[in-house]
């Protein structure tokens, strides 16, 4: 194992791999990524595989839009020999009442102002997009045709292989135990396989990012919670877009491979690092999906699992350094959508670390935005 590095990235999910790739792509050398299990073993490999630009908060919209622009060319840019399984057949967001329709109106206005091609639909128009959608309890909908799907495993693999070709070193099955700081200068990262001397540490540890912050005495205002999900047997293509509803608490899409992936949230879920599966989730998911998308009820569930959302106070990510400790950077608090924002996470953090002009203003992504302030704009469009 190397005992010296210029940059140590903690976390081998999509964020860590994207940061590594973009740092290396900008010409940085001696980059090491440390992952305690295998790549995508945390939230990335447990996510719903959706790519969405229809957000209610500005930063999420901007990050998502620019990330989609990257994903559209990712297969070529990353020169990947596999298939990232990108599909752009939209996200259909369905609402239950007039109140939700008013939120849709505000959100679509914001999205359109930022160049995202979303539109409001009547429930009849929604049914034209997904003909088996049960619109009995649907009031209205929104649709963005350039939203879609990506395979989290192969997309991360694409970043990993591209980063590796640029000289990045990856240590999997290696856990960070401590980070040594002396007189406000980072000295080294202590791992289960040895110490690495470095002056720059990037915290991309997802569900464990708070614990990494604590190792250097930085309190990151995030917490983790389990969100459950299931997958069905693969079948012939029957659904183009992701169907999602905040009021009905469901997201459900068919992957290009044919399987349906679906999830919902438990509002009573306690904070913590547990990722176990429950029969309560299975019962509630089966009922919700069978009522909203009746033919999907005919499919067999083959597997269920849980994964961690790393929640920030405003449900927008923290992509930031900190004045309290130069050389310490973080990409965390994605609140359930770190996978789809990864290209911009990688670009922005690499620009920040290397002192380049940022692609977009980052004040609203900084750790310091929470210092003694009330959260003003909170993202509410989260399942």
């Amino acid at each position: 194992m190397k005992n010296k590095a210029d940059y140590v990235i903690i976390g081998g999910g999509i964020s860590g791999c994207a940061i590594a790739y973009h740092l290396a792509d900008f010409g940085a050398k001696n980059i090491v990524v440390i992952e305690k299990e295998y790549l995508t073993s945390g939230a990335t490999g447990r996510c719903g595989a959706g790519i969405r630009q229809q957000w209610g908060a500005k930063m999420n919209c901007l990050l998502a839009k620019k990330s989609v622009e990257f994903f559209e060319k990712a297969q070529e840019i990353l020169a990947y020999d596999g298939d990232i399984e990108f599909k752009q057949e939209g996200y259909l967001i369905v609402g239950s009442d007039q109140e939700e329709d008013m939120v849709f109106k505000t959100n679509v206005a914001l999205q359109n102002a930022l160049g995202i091609p979303a539109k409001r639909l009547t429930k009849e128009e929604a049914k034209q997009i997904v003909p088996y959608l049960n619109i009995d309890n649907v009031y209205s909908a929104t649709f963005c045709p350039t939203d879609g799907h990506l395979n989290p495993f192969t997309t991360t693999d694409a970043y990993y292989k591209a980063a590796k070709r640029l000289g990045v070193t990856f240590y999997t099955y290696t856990e960070v135990k401590d980070i040594v700081v002396k007189d406000s200068v980072i000295q080294k990262v202590v791992t289960t396989r040895g110490d690495i001397e470095t002056g720059v540490v990037i915290n991309a540890a997802g569900g464990w990012s708070k614990a990494i912050g604590q190792m250097v005495g930085i309190d990151i205002p995030v917490y983790s919670e389990n969100h459950e999900i299931l997958v069905t047997e693969p079948v012939e293509k029957m659904q183009g877009p992701m169907v999602i509803s905040f009021s009905k608490n469901i997201y459900c899409q068919q992957t290009p491979h044919g399987a349906f992936i679906m999830g919902r949230s438990d509002p009573d879920m306690p904070e913590g690092l547990d990722v176990s599966s429950s029969h309560q989730f299975l019962d509630a998911m089966a009922k919700t999906v069978t009522e909203l998308l009746p033919p999907v009820g005919e499919l067999r569930v083959i597997r269920q699992w849980g994964g961690l959302y790393n929640m920030s106070p405003d449900h927008q990510p923290i992509i930031s350094g900190t004045k309290k400790l130069p050389g310490f950077y973080m990409a965390c608090g994605f609140s359930g959508h770190g996978f789809m924002l990864a290209p911009m996470t990688g670009v922005l953090l690499a620009e920040l670390i290397l002192g380049k002009a940022p692609t977009m203003p980052m004040e609203e992504l900084s750790l310091e935005r929470f210092d003694g302030k009330q959260v003003i704009t909170k993202e509410k469009s989260v399942v």
């Binding site: 790549l39 089966a286 005919e298 569930v301 269920q304």
Partner: protein, 93 residues
């Protein structure tokens, strides 16, 4: 026999040649193989191929079979229709 013609995972159509190609690229554990090639992730949930994958990892990396971790098994143990789960729950209530 040509590894291209040896089917390991029937659900996801993965051959022995596919596995060897992944081994050569450095993917070494069942969990990694699953995620890149979907081996063991189909309707049978590795009930058919699981032991074979474990055996091939053991052979290729010269690792005693009992030291090759089996994949992380998750519920359900068999495929059940979503509608049947809903109906069973409705009968309970």
């Amino acid at each position: 026999m040509d590894p291209k013609h040896v089917i390991i995972c029937r659900c996801s159509d993965v051959t022995l040649a596919d596995l060897i190609a992944l081994f050569e690229q450095g993917y070494q554990t069942f969990e990694e193989l699953k995620r890149i090639k979907r081996v063991g992730m189909g309707p049978c949930q590795a009930n058919t191929c699981g032991k074979m994958v474990q055996w091939e990892i053991s052979k290729y990396f010269n690792q005693p079979l009992e030291e090759v971790p089996f994949h992380n098994m998750r519920p359900l143990t068999m495929g059940i229709k979503l509608k049947e789960i809903m109906e069973a729950k409705n009968r309970e209530e």
